[in-house]
Protein backbone atom coordinates (compact mmCIF):
# COMPACT_ATOMS: atom_id res chain seq x y z
CA UNK A 1 0.00 0.00 0.00
CA UNK A 2 1.40 3.37 -0.95
CA UNK A 3 1.63 6.42 1.23
CA UNK A 4 -0.88 8.19 -1.01
CA UNK A 5 -3.43 5.42 -0.52
CA UNK A 6 -3.17 5.88 3.20
CA UNK A 7 -3.48 9.64 3.15
CA UNK A 8 -6.38 9.55 0.68
CA UNK A 9 -8.40 7.43 3.13
CA UNK A 10 -8.71 4.43 0.83
CA UNK A 11 -8.55 1.99 3.72
CA UNK A 12 -9.79 3.80 6.84
CA UNK A 13 -9.19 0.84 9.13
CA UNK A 14 -5.50 0.87 8.28
CA UNK A 15 -5.21 4.53 9.16
CA UNK A 16 -6.09 3.62 12.74
CA UNK A 17 -2.69 2.85 14.21
CA UNK A 18 -2.51 0.47 17.14
CA UNK A 19 -2.02 2.31 20.40
CA UNK A 20 1.55 2.43 21.78
CA UNK A 21 2.65 -0.90 23.29
CA UNK A 22 -0.73 -2.41 22.22
CA UNK A 23 -2.34 -0.90 25.30
CA UNK A 24 -5.54 1.19 25.38
CA UNK A 25 -4.87 4.92 25.62
CA UNK A 26 -6.72 5.43 28.92
CA UNK A 27 -4.81 2.57 30.54
CA UNK A 28 -1.51 3.96 29.25
CA UNK A 29 -2.42 7.34 30.74
CA UNK A 30 -3.11 5.71 34.11
CA UNK A 31 0.22 3.84 33.98
CA UNK A 32 2.05 7.08 33.20
CA UNK A 33 0.32 8.74 36.15
CA UNK A 34 1.29 5.79 38.38
CA UNK A 35 4.93 6.06 37.29
CA UNK A 36 4.94 9.79 38.06
CA UNK A 37 3.26 9.26 41.43
CA UNK A 38 5.70 6.47 42.25
CA UNK A 39 8.53 8.90 41.61
CA UNK A 40 6.87 11.40 43.96
CA UNK A 41 6.55 8.89 46.77
CA UNK A 42 10.05 7.59 46.14
CA UNK A 43 11.38 11.13 46.40
CA UNK A 44 9.59 11.63 49.72
CA UNK A 45 10.82 8.32 51.14
CA UNK A 46 14.39 8.85 49.97
CA UNK A 47 14.42 12.38 51.43
CA UNK A 48 13.06 10.90 54.66
CA UNK A 49 15.94 8.41 54.57
CA UNK A 50 18.45 11.22 54.09
CA UNK A 51 17.05 13.06 57.13
CA UNK A 52 16.91 9.96 59.30
CA UNK A 53 20.41 8.86 58.36
CA UNK A 54 21.85 12.32 58.94
CA UNK A 55 20.30 12.76 62.37
CA UNK A 56 22.13 11.62 65.49
CA UNK A 57 18.97 11.49 67.61
CA UNK A 58 16.19 10.21 65.36
CA UNK A 59 13.45 8.93 67.68
CA UNK A 60 12.23 5.34 67.66
CA UNK A 61 9.02 5.73 69.62
CA UNK A 62 6.58 3.22 68.09
CA UNK A 63 5.49 0.66 70.65
CA UNK A 64 3.98 -2.67 69.65
CA UNK A 65 0.66 -1.60 71.17
CA UNK A 66 -1.01 0.41 69.83
CA UNK A 67 1.13 1.67 66.93
CA UNK A 68 2.58 -1.49 65.38
CA UNK A 69 -0.65 -3.45 65.95
CA UNK A 70 -2.54 -0.66 64.21
CA UNK A 71 -0.06 -0.72 61.33
CA UNK A 72 -0.55 -4.51 61.02
CA UNK A 73 -4.30 -4.09 60.86
CA UNK A 74 -4.08 -1.27 58.33
CA UNK A 75 -1.70 -3.30 56.16
CA UNK A 76 -4.00 -6.33 56.23
CA UNK A 77 -7.02 -4.20 55.35
CA UNK A 78 -5.25 -2.55 52.42
CA UNK A 79 -3.84 -5.78 50.98
CA UNK A 80 -7.27 -7.41 51.29
CA UNK A 81 -8.88 -4.42 49.60
CA UNK A 82 -6.45 -4.96 46.71
CA UNK A 83 -7.75 -8.53 46.49
CA UNK A 84 -11.37 -7.40 46.48
CA UNK A 85 -10.53 -4.83 43.80
CA UNK A 86 -9.02 -7.57 41.67
CA UNK A 87 -12.14 -9.69 42.17
CA UNK A 88 -14.22 -6.69 41.10
CA UNK A 89 -12.20 -6.21 37.93
CA UNK A 90 -12.43 -9.93 37.14
CA UNK A 91 -16.20 -9.82 37.57
CA UNK A 92 -16.45 -6.75 35.36
CA UNK A 93 -14.34 -8.37 32.63
CA UNK A 94 -16.57 -11.45 32.77
CA UNK A 95 -19.68 -9.30 32.46
CA UNK A 96 -21.05 -9.91 35.98
CA UNK A 97 -22.02 -6.33 36.72
CA UNK A 98 -23.70 -6.92 40.10
CA UNK A 99 -20.74 -8.82 41.52
CA UNK A 100 -18.34 -6.21 40.16
CA UNK A 101 -20.20 -3.33 41.81
CA UNK A 102 -20.38 -5.29 45.06
CA UNK A 103 -16.63 -5.94 45.11
CA UNK A 104 -15.87 -2.32 44.17
CA UNK A 105 -17.96 -1.03 47.08
CA UNK A 106 -16.32 -3.51 49.47
CA UNK A 107 -12.96 -2.18 48.29
CA UNK A 108 -14.05 1.42 48.88
CA UNK A 109 -15.26 0.46 52.37
CA UNK A 110 -11.86 -1.08 53.09
CA UNK A 111 -10.20 2.13 52.02
CA UNK A 112 -12.43 4.21 54.27
CA UNK A 113 -11.77 1.95 57.26
CA UNK A 114 -8.04 2.30 56.57
CA UNK A 115 -8.41 6.08 56.49
CA UNK A 116 -10.33 6.14 59.78
CA UNK A 117 -7.72 3.96 61.52
CA UNK A 118 -5.01 6.21 60.18
CA UNK A 119 -6.69 9.39 61.39
CA UNK A 120 -7.21 7.81 64.81
CA UNK A 121 -3.50 7.07 64.93
CA UNK A 122 -2.68 10.63 63.97
CA UNK A 123 -4.82 11.99 66.81
CA UNK A 124 -3.04 9.66 69.20
CA UNK A 125 0.37 10.95 68.15
CA UNK A 126 -0.75 14.56 68.26
CA UNK A 127 -2.08 13.95 71.76
CA UNK A 128 1.38 12.65 72.72
CA UNK A 129 2.90 15.93 71.57
CA UNK A 130 4.06 15.16 68.05
CA UNK A 131 3.78 18.04 65.62
CA UNK A 132 5.33 19.10 62.34
CA UNK A 133 8.25 20.83 64.06
CA UNK A 134 8.39 19.26 67.52
CA UNK A 135 8.05 16.02 69.41
CA UNK A 136 8.95 14.91 72.94
CA UNK A 137 11.55 12.34 71.84
CA UNK A 138 14.25 13.69 69.55
CA UNK A 139 14.90 15.24 66.17
CA UNK A 140 12.20 17.85 65.49
CA UNK A 141 11.88 16.75 61.84
CA UNK A 142 10.51 13.35 62.87
CA UNK A 143 6.94 14.67 62.94
CA UNK A 144 7.26 16.50 59.63
CA UNK A 145 8.62 13.38 57.96
CA UNK A 146 5.97 11.10 59.45
CA UNK A 147 2.95 13.30 58.83
CA UNK A 148 3.98 14.36 55.33
CA UNK A 149 4.57 10.84 54.01
CA UNK A 150 1.61 9.19 55.72
CA UNK A 151 -0.55 12.21 54.95
CA UNK A 152 0.26 12.06 51.24
CA UNK A 153 -0.59 8.37 51.23
CA UNK A 154 -3.79 8.97 53.21
CA UNK A 155 -4.80 11.58 50.64
CA UNK A 156 -4.33 9.02 47.87
CA UNK A 157 -6.35 6.40 49.76
CA UNK A 158 -9.21 8.80 50.45
CA UNK A 159 -9.32 10.08 46.88
CA UNK A 160 -9.17 6.49 45.65
CA UNK A 161 -12.08 5.44 47.86
CA UNK A 162 -14.19 8.32 46.55
CA UNK A 163 -13.23 7.47 42.98
CA UNK A 164 -14.17 3.83 43.55
CA UNK A 165 -17.64 4.78 44.77
CA UNK A 166 -18.18 7.02 41.74
CA UNK A 167 -16.80 4.49 39.24
CA UNK A 168 -18.76 1.66 40.86
CA UNK A 169 -22.00 3.62 40.72
CA UNK A 170 -21.46 4.76 37.13
CA UNK A 171 -20.42 1.29 36.01
CA UNK A 172 -23.53 -0.16 37.63
CA UNK A 173 -25.62 2.46 35.87
CA UNK A 174 -24.08 1.63 32.50
CA UNK A 175 -22.13 4.85 32.08
CA UNK A 176 -18.69 3.15 32.27
CA UNK A 177 -17.35 -0.18 31.05
CA UNK A 178 -15.08 -2.90 32.40
CA UNK A 179 -11.97 -1.17 31.07
CA UNK A 180 -12.73 1.85 33.28
CA UNK A 181 -13.06 -0.43 36.30
CA UNK A 182 -9.71 -2.01 35.41
CA UNK A 183 -8.03 1.40 35.17
CA UNK A 184 -9.42 2.45 38.57
CA UNK A 185 -8.19 -0.86 39.92
CA UNK A 186 -4.67 -0.08 38.72
CA UNK A 187 -4.70 3.10 40.82
CA UNK A 188 -5.92 1.20 43.89
CA UNK A 189 -3.22 -1.46 43.58
CA UNK A 190 -0.64 1.31 43.29
CA UNK A 191 -1.87 2.85 46.55
CA UNK A 192 -1.43 -0.54 48.23
CA UNK A 193 2.01 -0.92 46.68
CA UNK A 194 3.17 2.40 48.14
CA UNK A 195 2.00 1.31 51.60
CA UNK A 196 4.25 -1.77 51.31
CA UNK A 197 7.21 0.66 51.37
CA UNK A 198 5.80 3.20 53.82
CA UNK A 199 5.23 0.64 56.58
CA UNK A 200 8.82 -0.65 56.86
CA UNK A 201 10.55 2.70 56.35
CA UNK A 202 8.33 4.96 58.42
CA UNK A 203 6.95 2.58 61.05
CA UNK A 204 9.04 -0.57 61.41
CA UNK A 205 12.48 1.10 61.33
CA UNK A 206 11.26 3.27 64.22
CA UNK A 207 9.93 0.62 66.58
CA UNK A 208 10.77 1.17 70.21
CA UNK A 209 13.75 -0.95 71.33
Amino acid sequence: MSQSDMTMGTHPAVLERSSPFAIPTKKLAMWLFIIADAATFAGCLVAYGFLRNGSPNWPTPFKFSPTVLNAMLMTFILITSSLTMLLGVRSAKMGDKRAAVRWIMVTAAGGLIFALLHIREWFGLIHEGVGLSHNPWGDPLFGAGFFSITGLHLLHVTAGAVALVIVGARYGGGGLDADDVEITGLYWHFVDLVWMFVVPFVYLLNVAK
Binding site: F21, W31, A42, G43, S55, H189
Partner: protein, 117 residues
Amino acid sequence: MGPTKLQRGRAADYSGSLAKVLIIYGCIVLLAALQFIVAYQHLGGRATFLRMFLIAIVEAGLAVTFFMHMGSEDRKFAYSVAILVIFVLAVMQFGWTDSFRMERGVPGSTYSSGPTQ
Protein backbone atom coordinates in the same frame (compact mmCIF):
# COMPACT_ATOMS: atom_id res chain seq x y z
CA MET B 1 -19.20 -2.01 14.18
CA GLY B 2 -16.88 -1.12 17.07
CA PRO B 3 -13.11 -0.66 17.04
CA THR B 4 -11.01 -3.70 16.17
CA LYS B 5 -8.82 -5.44 18.68
CA LEU B 6 -5.79 -3.88 17.05
CA GLN B 7 -7.31 -0.43 17.39
CA ARG B 8 -8.33 -0.90 21.02
CA GLY B 9 -5.03 -2.40 22.03
CA ARG B 10 -4.55 -5.79 23.61
CA ALA B 11 -6.14 -6.02 27.04
CA ALA B 12 -4.48 -7.68 30.01
CA ASP B 13 -5.70 -11.20 30.66
CA TYR B 14 -8.04 -11.45 33.68
CA SER B 15 -9.34 -14.93 32.97
CA GLY B 16 -6.83 -16.82 35.14
CA SER B 17 -7.90 -19.08 37.99
CA LEU B 18 -9.17 -17.68 41.27
CA ALA B 19 -6.89 -20.05 43.16
CA LYS B 20 -3.84 -18.37 41.66
CA VAL B 21 -5.11 -14.96 42.77
CA LEU B 22 -5.69 -16.21 46.31
CA ILE B 23 -2.22 -17.81 46.45
CA ILE B 24 -0.60 -14.53 45.40
CA TYR B 25 -2.68 -12.69 48.00
CA GLY B 26 -1.53 -15.15 50.65
CA CYS B 27 2.10 -14.67 49.63
CA ILE B 28 1.80 -10.89 49.88
CA VAL B 29 0.21 -11.12 53.34
CA LEU B 30 2.96 -13.49 54.51
CA LEU B 31 5.67 -11.20 53.17
CA ALA B 32 4.10 -8.26 55.00
CA ALA B 33 4.04 -10.34 58.19
CA LEU B 34 7.71 -11.20 57.61
CA GLN B 35 8.58 -7.49 57.60
CA PHE B 36 7.04 -7.13 61.05
CA ILE B 37 9.06 -10.12 62.28
CA VAL B 38 12.27 -8.63 60.87
CA ALA B 39 11.55 -5.39 62.72
CA TYR B 40 11.69 -7.20 66.06
CA GLN B 41 14.85 -9.19 65.36
CA HIS B 42 16.92 -6.12 66.32
CA LEU B 43 19.64 -6.84 63.77
CA GLY B 44 20.95 -3.31 63.55
CA GLY B 45 19.99 -0.44 61.26
CA ARG B 46 21.57 -1.45 57.96
CA ALA B 47 20.73 -5.18 58.08
CA THR B 48 17.13 -4.48 59.11
CA PHE B 49 16.71 -1.90 56.36
CA LEU B 50 18.14 -4.16 53.64
CA ARG B 51 15.96 -7.11 54.60
CA MET B 52 12.81 -5.01 54.76
CA PHE B 53 13.66 -3.34 51.47
CA LEU B 54 14.17 -6.70 49.72
CA ILE B 55 10.89 -8.03 51.11
CA ALA B 56 9.11 -4.86 49.94
CA ILE B 57 10.61 -5.25 46.46
CA VAL B 58 9.31 -8.85 46.23
CA GLU B 59 5.87 -7.75 47.48
CA ALA B 60 5.79 -4.93 44.97
CA GLY B 61 6.87 -7.29 42.19
CA LEU B 62 4.03 -9.69 42.98
CA ALA B 63 1.51 -6.84 43.16
CA VAL B 64 2.65 -5.29 39.87
CA THR B 65 2.91 -8.61 38.00
CA PHE B 66 -0.27 -10.31 39.19
CA PHE B 67 -2.59 -7.72 40.74
CA MET B 68 -1.86 -4.98 38.21
CA HIS B 69 -1.46 -7.63 35.47
CA MET B 70 1.77 -6.20 34.14
CA GLY B 71 2.76 -9.83 33.58
CA SER B 72 0.15 -10.18 30.85
CA GLU B 73 0.78 -6.81 29.18
CA ASP B 74 2.97 -6.27 26.14
CA ARG B 75 6.60 -7.13 27.00
CA LYS B 76 7.97 -3.93 25.47
CA PHE B 77 5.64 -1.91 27.71
CA ALA B 78 6.63 -3.81 30.84
CA TYR B 79 10.34 -3.38 30.14
CA SER B 80 9.89 0.33 29.34
CA VAL B 81 8.11 0.94 32.64
CA ALA B 82 10.67 -1.09 34.60
CA ILE B 83 13.70 0.64 33.05
CA LEU B 84 12.18 4.12 33.49
CA VAL B 85 11.21 3.56 37.12
CA ILE B 86 14.54 1.97 38.08
CA PHE B 87 16.43 4.82 36.39
CA VAL B 88 14.47 7.49 38.27
CA LEU B 89 14.89 5.69 41.59
CA ALA B 90 18.60 5.26 41.00
CA VAL B 91 19.26 8.93 40.29
CA MET B 92 17.42 9.92 43.48
CA GLN B 93 20.17 8.33 45.54
CA PHE B 94 22.56 11.24 45.08
CA GLY B 95 22.11 12.59 48.60
CA TRP B 96 23.36 9.66 50.67
CA THR B 97 26.92 10.99 50.78
CA ASP B 98 25.62 14.22 52.33
CA SER B 99 23.52 12.44 54.93
CA PHE B 100 26.50 10.28 55.93
CA ARG B 101 28.66 13.40 56.15
CA MET B 102 26.19 15.03 58.51
CA GLU B 103 26.03 11.90 60.61
CA ARG B 104 29.80 11.66 61.06
CA GLY B 105 30.20 15.30 61.97
CA VAL B 106 32.92 16.52 59.64
CA PRO B 107 33.97 20.17 60.13
CA GLY B 108 31.19 22.49 59.09
CA SER B 109 28.45 20.04 60.03
CA THR B 110 25.92 21.12 62.65
CA TYR B 111 25.52 17.55 63.93
CA SER B 112 27.80 15.90 66.46
CA SER B 113 29.45 12.64 65.36
CA GLY B 114 28.01 9.33 66.48
CA PRO B 115 26.56 6.09 65.22
CA THR B 116 23.21 5.97 63.45
CA GLN B 117 20.32 4.37 65.29
